[in-house]
């Protein structure tokens, strides 16, 4: 009678053990997470575009477009905001760090300059440490961030987008513990600085988003190589 009473528990234990064994025999998980950080939000409108649109709305719309493209390619996306909400730079970094992402992109837009600007942190590269100072946590990831910027640069140039690479200090990016790049989209201009493609051009936005998605697929392939 006692043996019959314990039989369901025994079966459950065997099932759990066999599942654990099966999981152990499978190859390592192909988890690949990308964090998209649409800059500004809420009271912080950011810059003002030529068509009157605010930077916060532009970056949110671009994030939605890029998230769809990445999801279609099987890439898991975490965003720091999904609505017109104010998010503190520290909170943005917290979200990115908890996601343990393979790439973190902070999306910005501006009317100054030309083409796309890719910025990595200007912090000096440092060795990874168990505990890193919050404001300079990105220092241990700068080398990987530069590599990510290189992959993004290649894909954007391939898509015919002019790119400028630079280093800067952004509060959210400097605290991220992932390969992080700040992307600033600006209008395309001719040699005499006349605007040829404005930020409100849907084809331009699509070209940029598609190139970024292609770059992240390439980055995933590089990350999963032994």
């Amino acid at each position: 009678m006692a043996a019959l009473k314990f039989r369901p528990f025994l079966a459950f234990a065997v099932l759990v053990a066999s599942l654990q064994l099966a999981a152990a025999q499978q190859p390592p998980s192909a988890r690949f997470v990308v964090v998209l950080d649409p800059a500004h939000g809420g009271d912080d409108a950011g810059g003002r575009m030529a068509n009157g649109q605010s930077e916060k709305n532009f970056t949110l719309a671009l994030t939605g477009r890029l998230r769809s493209l990445l999801a279609a390619r099987g890439i898991q996306v975490v965003t720091t905001r999904d609505s017109d909400a104010a998010v503190d730079p520290g909170r943005r970094a917290e979200i990115a760090n908890h996601a343990q992402a393979e790439a973190c992109l902070s999306l910005h837009a501006s009317e100054s300059g030309s083409g796309l600007h890719l910025f990595t942190s200007s912090l000096a590269p440092a060795q990874p440490a168990r505990f890193a100072p919050w404001k300079t946590a990105q220092a241990a990831w700068v080398t990987r961030s530069l590599a990510l910027a290189g992959t993004l640069n290649s894909a954007l140039l391939h898509a015919g987008v002019s790119v400028t690479l630079g280093r800067t200090s952004l509060p959210a990016v400097d605290s991220m513990t992932c390969p992080a790049v700040a992307i600033e989209i600006t209008p395309e201009r001719s040699a005499d600085q006349k605007t040829t493609t404005g930020l409100d051009d849907k084809n331009y936005q699509a070209r940029v988003a598609t190139a970024l998605a292609a770059a992240l697929v390439e980055w995933r392939m590089e990350a999963q190589q032994p």
Binding site: G46, E55, T168, P171
Partner: protein, 208 residues
């Protein structure tokens, strides 16, 4: 029936009105030209309180995201802090000019003070220890300058780097720069570039 003398009077008045209109239009055009000519001559030259010396400005250019050196001759004070302020004032005057390649409103009065202090060791922030005699420059900007600065990563970064590079070019002992706005710490310049950190002047090297 309108009398003949009234017709003549009306004609004379109409003609006088037209002539006055033409004269007023010409006067307005001349005044406008004078105003434009006055703007072209801005920024106004500083009063000659000292002999002109060579100053090297690291000037930003939004068109190609570059920093280039320009040599100017300015009357510079002897005191290092005042000298730094004068040089940065000239730099921001260039940015406030109508045809600037890095347009930023405000001009030279946007730098209210520059304080020079012994530079602290930065530890993990810098790969090299600070040499003896190294200085930290604390640049106090006006709130109106920060409020009117164009928003964007590139434009804000170029402003910060050109200030750091200009200080390094004229005061080689300045190795670190911090920023205040109206005497207080401010999170960012115009929503992007971090103003709470210490910048290293060695990072603001202009293109050869």
């Amino acid at each position: 029936m309108i009398p003949r003398y009234q017709k003549i009077l009306f004609g004379i008045l109409l003609l006088a009105s037209l002539v006055m209109g033409v004269v007023l239009w010409q006067l307005r055009e001349r005044a406008h030209e004078r105003m434009i000519a006055g703007q072209d001559s801005a920024p106004t030259s500083a009063p000659e309180v000292a002999s002109a010396e060579q100053a090297t400005l690291v000037v930003a250019n939004d068109n190609d995201s570059s920093l280039l050196t320009q040599v100017h001759f300015l009357p510079l004070p002897v005191d290092d802090g005042a000298r730094a302020r004068a040089v940065l004032g000239k730099l921001l005057d260039l940015y406030a000019a109508p045809d600037a390649a890095h347009p930023v409103p405000g001009g030279g009065t946007s730098v209210t003070q520059v304080f020079l202090l012994p530079a602290p060791q930065l530890g993990a922030l810098s790969q090299n220890p600070e040499p003896a005699g190294a200085q930290l420059a604390v640049v106090n900007l006006t709130g109106s300058f920060a409020a009117s600065h164009p928003s964007g990563i590139e434009t804000e970064t170029l402003t910060v780097l050109s200030i750091c590079g200009t200080l390094r070019a004229n005061l080689p002992s300045v190795t670190q720069v911090r920023f205040l706005v109206d005497g207080h710490e401010r999170a960012t310049l115009a929503g992007h570039a971090d103003l709470t950190r210490t910048y290293l002047t060695a990072d603001a090297v202009p293109q050869p």
